[in-house]
């Protein structure tokens, strides 16, 4: 049943998908997700949040208990994995150890009955693409982790699949190589215009690579948005907590005036904050402020919130310092200070004025 779907709309669509393994606990609860053609979408979340299960349902290794999945206008929940035309890169590469690199990359073409000469040509091209042109005759075991990962990439791309899935593909690499490969995968995506669904639990990886990120928790998508929006305008306290660092101040929303609301903290102080959909007037809330948005000695600037605090701890991190401050009225705020030559003098125990703007302070659910 082919449905007319415009390319820009939804290339992949999860409609009301639920998944349970034991009939009691829903690993994925009511998943509705649309992925655009050519998009790099990352499923981000802690382990057990349902992101890998979602990917496995898309790959065809798990079937949805309820709901259906559409790929390019076709329902695919009953299509076996080998007929879905989806390339997949696995966490530990899953290269076949008894085949050479060229045989590994040629495997999807061989099972599709492509002629030998064409296989050789396309394999060479795919290996060139990942800068491994000279390595076709090697066995996977003779290669480094990063090289194996590139072979796995070439293998998942060589048959020009409709969609490429990546299940924590960089998890086994060291930090430097991981960052290098992030950029390389990103460039491949831009160059080939493929649609990628990427699973990771590493939030910086998700922010670096994706067009959009879907943050999973407890089987539900908490927020799906481009990285900048996710970071600057988290929809709820889970997302604020999971992505980046976060100062949390519990309080109660007293009143709201448009987007700005007044929140009273436990000790009686009042903070001006931005009201979000996650919180209601009159209810408990959690204020979320990024450490780099809290300013020390904000004399010249217009600040909605000003407080006196005492420095409790200074952590030196080279390019910046993390200063842990205790507000006079109780409560702790971590401030990130750039290590520029004009930074204010900081000493443990000294008293400093702090300030932040209402739009950088978001009132989220009190969860």
């Amino acid at each position: 049943m082919k449905l007319p779907v415009s390319a820009s709309e939804s290339f992949v669509e999860f409609a009301g998908v639920q998944k349970t393994y034991d009939g009691e606990i829903l690993v994925v609860k009511d998943l509705n997700l649309r992925i655009r053609r050519g998009e790099f979408l990352t499923l981000l979340g802690p382990s057990g949040s349902g992101k890998t299960t979602t990917l496995m349902m898309l790959a065809g290794f798990e079937t949805p208990t309820v709901g259906n999945i559409m790929l390019d206008g076709d329902r695919i929940d009953a299509v076996p994995p080998e007929k879905r035309d989806i390339g997949m890169v696995f966490q530990n590469y899953a290269l076949f150890p008894h085949m050479t690199v060229a045989q590994n990359v040629g495997y999807p073409l061989k099972v599709r009955g492509v002629a030998k000469a064409e296989i050789a040509e396309r394999v060479a091209k795919a290996l060139d693409m990942v800068h491994l042109g000279a390595f076709g005759g090697r066995m996977p075991g003779q290669m480094s982790g990063g090289q194996q990962q590139r072979v796995a990439l070439a293998r998942a791309l060589v048959f020009e699949p409709k969609l490429v899935l990546m299940d924590e593909p960089l998890g086994a690499l060291d930090k430097q190589l991981r960052e290098h490969m992030q950029i390389e995968i990103r460039h491949l995506h831009e160059r080939l215009g493929i649609t990628v669904v990427y699973v990771t639990h590493d939030q910086s990886e998700a922010l670096t690579m994706s067009d959009r990120v879907a943050v999973f928790n407890a089987g539900i998508i908490q927020q799906i948005a481009p990285p900048s929006e996710l970071y600057e305008r988290p929809a709820n306290s889970f997302v604020a907590q999971f992505i980046g660092e976060n100062n949390r101040l519990p309080g109660r929303i007293q009143s709201a005036d448009g987007a700005v609301c007044k929140v009273s903290l436990a000790n009686g102080d009042t903070v001006a904050a931005t009201l979000t959909d996650a919180a209601r007037v009159g209810q408990d809330c959690l204020l979320s402020i990024r450490p780099e948005r809290v300013k020390i000695a904000p004399n010249g600037e217009a600040m909605d919130n000003r407080f006196e605090a005492q420095i409790a701890e200074i952590i030196y991190l080279g390019d910046h310092l993390r200063v842990r401050c205790v507000l006079d009225s109780g409560g702790e705020v971590v401030v990130k200070v750039g290590n520029a030559e004009d930074r204010p003098p900081l000493d443990i125990g000294s008293r400093i004025p702090l300030g932040w703007r209402a739009e950088d302070c978001r009132a989220l659910d009190a969860a």
Partner: protein, 418 residues
Amino acid sequence: MVALTSEGGGLVREDTTSLKAKLRRAERVNRMRSLSLVAPLLIFVLAVFVLPIGLMMFRAIENTEVRDALPKTIAALQDWDGTATPDEPVFAAFAADLVQTQKDRTTAGVGKRINYEVPGARSRFLKAGRLIDAGGGGPWKEKFLAADPEWGSVPFWAIMKRAGRTYTPYYLLNSLDLRQDATGAIVRNFPDQSIFLDILFRTIWISFLVTAATLILGYPVAHLLAILPPKHANLLMILVLLPFTTSILVRTTAWIVLLQSSGVINDVLLALHITTERVQLIFNRFGTVLAMTQIQLPFTILPIYSVMKSIPAAHVRAARSLGAGPLRAFVSVYMPQTLPGVGAGCLLTFILSLGYYITPALVGGPQDQMISYFVALYTNREMNWGQASALGAILLLITLGLYALFNRFVGIDKVKLG
């Protein structure tokens, strides 16, 4: 250190030697400690494994019966050119030796040794012994020839001369249905004595059948063991290992109860009208292979299982996502990776099967007896330890050959049990 870098090489060399010496000294204590830890086992293995096997191999070529019993005859034969019947001095020396062997009661023993190569020689020796006992003097050549014209046979004396040597290839050649003729050339053995190649091939064939049966039955079980959740896999593993808790003798006799003509299986076949008469299931090749397969199954399953366990599930998934159907993914990606385990399991079962004795003896017919049966026969009944040792040595050589082949193509380091 400064001197090392700024000045000549002599200093460097001197320094490294002393460094090496220091390292050796430091390592020596460790080496002595590890040596003392393995010493008990090493001594045990040397005493109860290497030494007996070495002695056994030696017995296969050792040949002292004639040399010790007939020293004068052998000395007299040294100058004999082997063209005609030896002359009186040889017969006189033979008579003198026989006087001693009659006294030592070893005439029959020497006769038996010659009898291996010259049928009928034992009784001829016993007769000659009685001739000596009758007393009287020479000339001995006429006396012997009068008693039995065969004493004049040139090939007989050639074999006597050869049997006097301390080492003989006779037993090993005989184990391969070969013999040395009177001139010493290696030829095929007499048809009525050529049984060993037949036994050897039978042994290899039965072992092959057992190996193939265990592989066909065991491979799916190993796969199931590897993919089941631990709770069920443990239960299945216990079932696989259960046979180890029962003695081979008990299990083999249980097969007799099941398979005999009036046994349970025949009763059931008859009751279900699958057969109209009782089927011979035991004391034949079928019973032998069946009973051996049952005993050998765990040995084939365990190495395959341990290799399967190490194959990530992602491999087959990757193959499926790349476009291979379930069967193709299994055959082209999973099965090749299990080959080291298959090789190890099959090698283990094949080698163990080669040495089977009790099971074929109990549930096989006369045509199903394997090489070990004949080793036992020559050791216990025939008292021909040379022949028993030669058969054992050949079995050992086949085993080592298989082992070398396996190591060449698979690598023995890939073998894991469990």
